[in-house]
Amino acid sequence: MNAANLDATVAAVWRLESPRVLARLARFVGDLDTAEELAQDTFVAAIEKWRQDGVPDNPAAWLHTTARYLAVDRIRRRDTHRNKVRLAAATSPQVVEHDLTELVDGDLADDLLGLIFMAAHPILSPDARSALTLKLVCGLDTEDIARAFLVPGPTIAQRVVRAKRTLSAANIRFELPGPAERPGRLAAVREVIYLVFNEGYSATSGDSWMRTDLCAEALRLGRMLASLTPHDTESLGLLGLMELQASRLKARTGPDGEAVLLMDQDRNRWDHLLVRRGLATLERIDQLGGTAGPYALQAAIAACHARASTPEDTDWVRIAALYDGLAQISPSPVVELNRGVAVAQAFGPQAGLDIVLPLFDVAELRHYHLLPAVAGDLFCRTGEHGRARKHFLQAASLTSNTRERTTMQRRAAECAAQHADESSE
């Protein structure tokens, strides 16, 4: 195997195995810094050995064995050191010795889950959580993460360093949360995953409408989480939602890179494998029963769109009902706005405006370009093109995404033409 192939193989093996190696090490030694050090040592050992002897038949097993060996060695040295210190201080005659038989191969699923909980710890800011999760759980390097988030490499590196420092200062150690804490901790994990997904799905800045590599990572994490918590309807809901939204990625950009909204998309360009997966996940949620949480409801809404082979087939009445449910369990101005859109589709633009117009008084939405965008669209449909045009111009001024701004300006111009026609009648 030549050098280039070796590098590609090592990189691929590391991408796949480093989260698992790190997770096990974190369980062995308890703290993240030591675990990462040992993981790095394992990686270096692998490169050196494999360059000489070639890639072993079972690289994963080699890595895990080496990692364990390095961990045992580190723990023994730590214990020896502590004992020396105690003897020297004559403080206690007790000898410290870890029971190294504890360092058995536990359930990899639990280890991975423990690592995810650590990386997505609520004590960290969302930015810190995303950077740490992508690095530790997805096995991405800081350059990849930086490129995905359109920030400089050192920015991500700093975020990671600070995050680990925060965990260390708070003495956060590797452990699975108990039953009381678990729902809250899982919610924090889901929040990170969906944040990463949305960063890619609706790129808020930059020239392109989406960044699909972030969506891909979020999906990977979502699938991982769903397999680790297979009876958790919200984890399944998050996965279903992302699969269904991602199914539309290729249809969301026009030939010039402009934004294509859901109702205008060519549904032949939807990824039907992802649609099937999303719908299958929703079926599992139904089978598990219980009350649907916010992600499960949002997934159900996405499923309504996915099932419609043409826009006219969309079951808007069902979507409006699902939004009613979502507005009750997870109310927010944005949910209310989306509810307005659904109600307009189901019951007419005026019904939608009745929900949407009061939202202009909500402080949270003051800079949210989609509010005037929706209002503009609804006024177009009631025939009030003058008012529609004003709203589209406002929407254009509020968005920092160049593609979206172009779309809003175009719609404003269309309204101006309509309005001019109306005025001259």
């Binding site: 590609a8 193989t9 990189a11 691929a12 093996v13 991408r15 796949l16 038949d57 079972n58 690289p59 994963a60 990899l108 699923a109 991975l112 891909a216 999906l219 990977r220 994490l221 979502g222 699938r223 991982m224 397999s227 680790l228 290729k250 360009r269 494998l273 997966r277």
Partner: protein, 118 residues
């Protein structure tokens, strides 16, 4: 990027010999691992060729042949579709599968996407 990973039959699979408990456990372990990796999009196994058929076309003439077919090693035993960043990653998954399940051959091929056809 999507890759299809196709594994080939062993003679035991062709003969309908039920995999040993160890092999079944290994297959289950692989499925769990693949699910945990977050890259598995779909996958199926296929049964012995004795329950299948073959369509051969020569000069426009169609011949339908019932299984079983002689060459176990030339027969697909199943496939998986993976969403990964590179061929090398898909190969590592193929490697894991082959070692766990005991197949002698796994082919890895890139799934053609719409953009490739432009």
């Amino acid at each position: 990027m999507r890759y299809m990973v196709m594994h080939y039959q062993t003679q035991d699979m062709e003969d309908g010999i039920v995999p040993s408990p160890e092999t079944q456990a290994a297959i289950e372990e692989y499925m769990r691992e693949a699910a945990m990796s977050g890259v598995l999009l779909s996958g199926e196994g296929v049964g012995p060729s004795s329950a299948g058929a073959r369509v051969e076309v020569t000069d426009g003439k169609v011949r339908v042949i019932d299984g079983p077919f002689a060459e176990a090693k030339e027969l697909i035993g199943g496939f998986a579709i993976l969403e990964v960043d590179s061929l090398a990653e898909a190969v590592e998954h193929a490697r894991k599968f082959a070692l766990l399940v005991g197949t002698e051959r796994v082919d890895v091929r890139r799934v053609v996407e719409a953009e490739d056809l432009k």
